[in-house]
C-alpha cells in the first residue's frame, strides 16, 4: 500500500507573504476579515504609511469555501456582533431559535426535562447552516480584498528549529504510486511573517507542530490534558412542515447510548422551503470518541437513534438529502495547546476553542480568529513576529470573554470519564463550584486509550446491539453506511496516493484483528477502512483503504487504538460536498 509522502528532490516555488491563514472555516474567515478591517482602518489613518492586503492569503483545501464545513448548528451571536454589527440583515440564517428542549430517551420512551438546563438554553441564538454561513463569510473576505486560495491544502509545515517559516501546499498530479503524473505541479512554499493554523478539528499541520515542538508536554509549570473528541454524524432532512418548526431546537441524551458512552443528539429546525410544504431539519448524533466497545459504529448509532419511536414519528414522510460527519474537540480549557509561538498561532477548533457543555464552538472560533488577527496586525506594524510577540495572542484570549466562558467549564467533559451518571453528578458539582469541582484540574485520558480489547468487552450486556457493527437501514428512514455516504457528495481525484497514512499495516492485519477486531471498519463514518480477503494468502484478511470515500472527519486519526494513522490532506479540491450542512 502506497501512502502520500513528500516527494524527494522537487523544487518548490517560493512565495513570501505577510500572513498565511491555513483553513477557510469560520475561524480562518473571521481572522481574515478582522485583519482586513484593521488594515483598512490603519490605511485610512496613515495615508503615507499604507499596509497592503495583497500578501495575506487564506488556504482552503475544499474546492469552494464552506464545502467542507459541517456543524449542527446553533450560533451564539456574540462574536458576529463584534465582527460585523450588521450581519443579521445580510448573513444566511436558517431561523432564530424559538424554543429549546432536552429529552432523555430510554429504549421506548422519551422524557422531557421540565426546564432546559441553562447552558443549553438557546434564546437569542440562531440556527444556521455552517456551510452557507462560511460561504457568505468568504464572500465578505474576498470583497475586503484578501486572497482566498481554494483547492489548496496546507500540506507540510516549514520549520527552522522552533520557528515556523511557513507552509507548503499540496503537490498536485501525483499518481497512486506517489510518482508525478503528466499534470504534476509542485506545492508552493508560502513563507509569511505569521502563520495562523485554522484547520479545524484535529488539524494535520497543528498535529505536526505540536509533535515537532513538543507543545503538548507538561512543562513550564503547565500540565496539559490530552485533547478528547466526539464525532458528529449528521443528516439533513426535508420534513413535512410542522414537524420541527424553524427555530425549534431539541437535544437528547440516553438511547441509543448506554451509561458507558458519552454523547447525544441534536435536532434543529431550519428554514421553510419555497412552496411551504416542508422545511429543512438538521439532525445528528455526537458519539464521544472514548467509548469502550471497539465495535461501536457512530453511523449505526445515528440510525438507531432515528428508529426510536420519538424520532421515527418526526421523520415519517420525510426525505434525507445530505449526510456527513466531523469530529469536534471537547477536551476544554486544560486540553488546549499553547496558542502562539515563533511565527505561529492556532485558532478555532484546531486549538480546541469549544464549549462542550453548551455544544457551541463557532462563536468561539470567530472570536479567536479576531483576536489572532489583532495579534498578527500588531506583529505586522511592529515588524516583530517572534514568540514573545505572538504569545500576546494567549494573553488576549485569557483576558477576553473566551476565558470567561471556557474556564468555568474546564472540567465538564472529564466529569464523564466514569460514565453518564457520575458525569451528571459531577456537572452539578462543577456548576456549584464555578468549575473547580474537587480539584481545579480534572485529568483526562486520550479517548483511544479507553477502548477495551475484545476479550474485555465480552462480558458487557447484550442489549447494546443498536451501537455495534454496520447499520442495515430500511432505505427510507434509516440507511446503511454506503447509501448515507453517497449523500455526502464526496469525490476525490482517484489516481493519487492514499492520504490516510498507516505507519504499520502489519499491526492492522495481525495484532489489531486479534485485540480490537479492526475498529476502523466501524468508527469510520465513510467506509474508508475495510478488511478484505487477502488474495495472496487465502484464509487471511488484510486492511484495504477506499481513500476516495473519505469525508475528512479525522475520526481515524483520533480513535485508532495504536495511534499509527496519520491523516494528511489529499490533493486539494477533493472531499465532501456539504451543501446546506
Amino acid at each position: 500500500m502506497i501512502f502520500r509522502t513528500p516527494l524527494e528532490g522537487i523544487e518548490h516555488p517560493q512565495m513570501e507573504a505577510d500572513v498565511v491563514i491555513v483553513g477557510g472555516g469560520p475561524a480562518g474567515m473571521a481572522c481574515a476579515l478582522r485583519l482586513a478591517q484593521l488594515i483598512a482602518a490603519h490605511n485610512a489613518a496613515h495615508p503615507d504609511a499604507q499596509l497592503s492586503k495583497e500578501n495575506i492569503y487564506v488556504l482552503e483545501k475544499a474546492r469552494e469555501i464552506g464545502q467542507h464545513c459541517l456543524s449542527g448548528a446553533v450560533l451564539d451571536p456574540r462574536s458576529m456582533d463584534e465582527l460585523l454589527p450588521e450581519w443579521r440583515t445580510e448573513a444566511p440564517i436558517e431561523a432564530e431559535v424559538t424554543s429549546d428542549s432536552v429529552y432523555y430517551l430510554t429504549r421506548k420512551s422519551a422524557f422531557k426535562a421540565p426546564i432546559t438546563p441553562p447552558p443549553m438554553q438557546d434564546h437569542g441564538n440562531y440556527v444556521i447552516s455552517l456551510n452557507r454561513f462560511t460561504k457568505w463569510l468568504g464572500e465578505k473576505v474576498e470583497a475586503a480584498g484578501i486572497t482566498l486560495f481554494s483547492g489548496f491544502a496546507g500540506s507540510e509545515l516549514l520549520l527552522d528549529g522552533s520557528r515556523v517559516l511557513g507552509v507548503r501546499t499540496d503537490d498536485k498530479g501525483v499518481d497512486k504510486t506517489n510518482r508525478p503524473k503528466s499534470n504534476f505541479e509542485p506545492g508552493y512554499d508560502l513563507k509569511p511573517k505569521v502563520t495562523i493554523l485554522a484547520e479545524g478539528t484535529r488539524g494535520s499541520l497543528t498535529k505536526q507542530l505540536c509533535e515537532r515542538l513538543g507543545l503538548l508536554e507538561n512543562r513550564d509549570g503547565v500540565i496539559r490534558n490530552p485533547m478528547t473528541y466526539g464525532v458528529g454524524v449528521k443528516e439533513l432532512w426535508e420534513l413535512p412542515s410542522g414537524r420541527i418548526r424553524p427555530g425549534e431546537v431539541l437535544y437528547t441524551m440516553g438511547y441509543p447510548l448506554t451509561t458507558m458512552e458519552y454523547g447525544g443528539a441534536w435536532i434543529y429546525g431550519g428554514a421553510e422551503n419555497p412552496g411551504g410544504k416542508d422545511n429543512t431539519v438538521s439532525l445528528g448524533f455526537v458519539t464521544g470518541l472514548d467509548y469502550p466497545d471497539p465495535r461501536t459504529d457512530p453511523q449505526h448509532v445515528l440510525q438507531s437513534f432515528k428508529q426510536h419511536p420519538f424520532v421515527l414519528r418526526l421523520l415519517q414522510g420525510g426525505k434525507m438529502v445530505r449526510y456527513g460527519a466531523k469530529t469536534m474537540p471537547n477536551g476544554g480549557w486544560w486540553a488546549m495547546p499553547p496558542l502562539g509561538g515563533d511565527g505561529w498561532m492556532i485558532v478555532g477548533d484546531a486549538a480546541g476553542f469549544l464549549n462542550s457543555q453548551r455544544l457551541k464552538g463557532i462563536h468561539l472560533a470567530i472570536k479567536s480568529g479576531m483576536l489572532a488577527a489583532e495579534t498578527a496586525f500588531e506583529a505586522l506594524t511592529s515588524g516583530d513576529s517572534s514568540a514573545k510577540q505572538l504569545a500576546k495572542f494567549q494573553q488576549k484570549v485569557e483576558s477576553s470573554w473566551i476565558r470567561q466562558e471556557l474556564y468555568p467549564v474546564r472540567n465538564f467533559h472529564q466529569g464523564f470519564e466514569h460514565g453518564f451518571v457520575s458525569g451528571v453528578l459531577n456537572t452539578g458539582l462543577l456548576m456549584a463550584t464555578g468549575g473547580y469541582g474537587l480539584r481545579n484540574r480534572y485529568p483526562a485520558h486520550a479517548g483511544h486509550e479507553r477502548m477495551r480489547p475484545l476479550w474485555d468487552i465480552m462480558g458487557y450486556p447484550k442489549s447494546r446491539e443498536q451501537l455495534l457493527g454496520p447499520a442495515k437501514g430500511d432505505g427510507q428512514l434509516t440507511f446503511d453506511k454506503l447509501t448515507d455516504l453517497y449523500h455526502s457528495g464526496t469525490r476525490h481525484e482517484e489516481d493519487q496516493p492514499a492520504h490516510l497514512i498507516i505507519h504499520n499495516t502489519d499491526i492492522c492485519n495481525t495484532r489489531c484483528t486479534r485485540e480490537y477486531g479492526n475498529p476502523c471498519q466501524h468508527f469510520c463514518p465513510a467506509n474508508v477502512y475495510e478488511m478484505v480477503e487477502d488474495a495472496d494468502a487465502p484464509g487471511t484478511r488484510r486492511i484495504h483503504l477506499n481513500a476516495a470515500n473519505c469525508v475528512h472527519c479525522k475520526t481515524c486519526d483520533i480513535m485508532d487504538p495504536y495511534q499509527i494513522i496519520d491523516w494528511v490532506p489529499p490533493e486539494g479540491g477533493g472531499g465532501p460536498s456539504y451543501d446546506g450542512m
Partner: protein, 326 residues
C-alpha cells in the same frame, strides 16, 4: 415549407457511432409532434459512404455526406468551419447531436459562432405551445429542468446517451447527397490516436453487459462470467471493489466513480446493488440480478431477480445460451 430538424451523426473511420441512431429516433419523435422534416448529416473525409448508407436506411428526408479530405482526422476547427457553412446554407430550425466526447469538443464552438443557443446533455424534448422544451437533469439527477430557447436562429441540442432508443428508429429509404465541405484554417494537428496499454474498452457501446461484484469471491472465478459474456456476445464489467483489487481494469468499472452505461441487457452477478453502483447502470433496458442474498438492494431495480448461488446458476446459464444460439 416545413421547418427542418438536422441530425449531426458521428462516425469514426467509416463506422457510424450507434448513438447517432438514438438522436435520429429523438428527432423522429419530435417531428411527429411538430410536423417538421428530419434530415441527417455526417461529416468526415473519404470514408463516409458506409455511415451515410446506414443513416439512409432510417426514415429521414435526406442524408448529407459533408466531406473533404482535410476533415479526416477530426479537428474542432475543421468540423466547425464545415458545419457552420452547411447549417447557414440549409437553415434548419433545430440541430440535434448525440452528447458524445467529440460533440462536447466542437458543438459549443459551433453554436457560439452562429450565435445560437446550445442545450447540452438533454434527456428529452417536446413541443408545447409552439415552443421547443428540452429537459435536462440537475444535481446528479435529483431535479429535472425544463429549458426553452428564445430567439429565431437555429437551436442546438445534444441528447444524453440512452435518452432515446436506437432500436425505436423508424426505418426508411433516404437519398444520400454528397456535399463538398467548406474548409478553412485548421489550427490543431492531431497526433495518431492511441489506446491505453491495456485493451481499451468502451462499455458505452456495448449492447449486453455481464457485470461482476464481490460475490465472485476470487480472481479466477471471473472466467465464469467471461464465459457468459462471450456466449451472449457482450462485454464484461465490474463494480468498484473488483477494479480496486486490480482483478479487472478501471475501464470496466460501472458506477458513480466509473462509467454510466445503459445497455439493452445488464446482468449483475454477485453485485449487492449499493447506490454507488446502481447510479451507473439504472438506465439499462433490462436488468437481471443473480445474488444469494434475497435482501440485496440490487433486487429493487432488477427486472428479473434470481436468488441463488451464482456458481451454480451462471455456468448453467452459459450452457443454455450456447444451446439456444445453436
Amino acid at each position: 415549407m416545413a421547418e427542418t430538424i438536422l441530425v449531426i451523426a458521428e462516425q469514426r473511420e467509416g463506422k457510424l457511432n450507434r448513438v447517432s441512431l438514438e438522436t435520429v429516433a429523438g428527432a423522429q419523435a419530435l417531428a411527429k409532434q411538430t410536423g417538421w422534416t428530419v434530415e441527417a448529416a455526417v461529416v468526415g473525409g473519404e470514408s463516409l459512404a458506409a455511415p451515410a448508407a446506414e443513416l439512409a436506411k432510417t426514415a429521414v428526408a435526406k442524408v448529407y455526406a459533408v466531406e473533404d479530405a482535410s476533415l479526416e482526422p477530426y479537428t474542432p476547427d475543421g468540423f466547425v468551419t464545415a458545419l457552420k457553412a452547411f447549417i447557414e446554407s440549409r437553415r434548419p430550425k433545430l440541430v440535434l447531436l448525440p452528447h458524445t466526447y467529440q460533440v462536447r469538443d466542437f458543438a459549443p464552438k459551433l453554436a457560439a459562432t452562429l450565435g445560437a443557443a446550445l442545450v447540452s446533455d438533454a434527456v428529452g424534448c417536446r413541443y408545447e405551445g409552439g415552443k421547443l422544451i428540452f429537459t435536462r437533469q440537475m444535481f446528479q439527477g435529483k431535479y429535472a429542468a425544463d429549458i426553452s430557447v428564445a430567439g429565431d436562429g437555429p437551436c442546438f441540442a445534444s441528447f444524453q446517451s440512452g435518452a432515446y432508443r436506437a432500436d425505436q428508429v423508424a426505418a426508411g429509404d433516404a437519398p444520400v447527397e454528397k456535399v463538398s465541405a467548406t474548409t478553412g484554417e485548421i489550427r490543431t494537428r492531431p497526433e495518431a490516436p492511441f489506446k491505453e496499454v491495456q485493451q481499451a474498452v468502451d462499455l458505452s457501446q456495448a449492447g449486453i453487459i455481464v457485470s461482476v461484484g464481490r460475490g465472485i469471491k476470487e480472481l479466477k472465478n471471473i472466467e465464469i462470467a467471461q464465459a457468459l459474456a462471450d456466449a451472449l456476445g457482450g462485454e464484461l464489467a465490474a463494480s468498484r471493489p473488483i477494479c480496486d483489487a486490480g482483478w479487472l481494469p478501471m475501464a470496466r468499472q460501472v458506477g458513480s466513480s466509473g462509467q454510466t452505461v445503459s445497455p439493452k441487457l445488464y446482468l449483475a452477478i454477485g453485485i449487492s446493488g449499493a447506490i454507488q453502483h446502481v447510479v451507473g447502470m439504472k438506465g439499462s433496458r433490462n436488468i437481471i440480478a443473480i445474488n444469494k442474498d434475497a435482501e440485496a438492494p440490487i433486487f429493487e431495480i432488477a427486472d428479473v431477480a434470481v436468488v441463488g448461488n451464482l456458481f451454480d446458476i451462471v455456468p448453467a446459464l452459459t450452457e443454455e445460451v450456447k444451446k439456444a444460439k445453436g
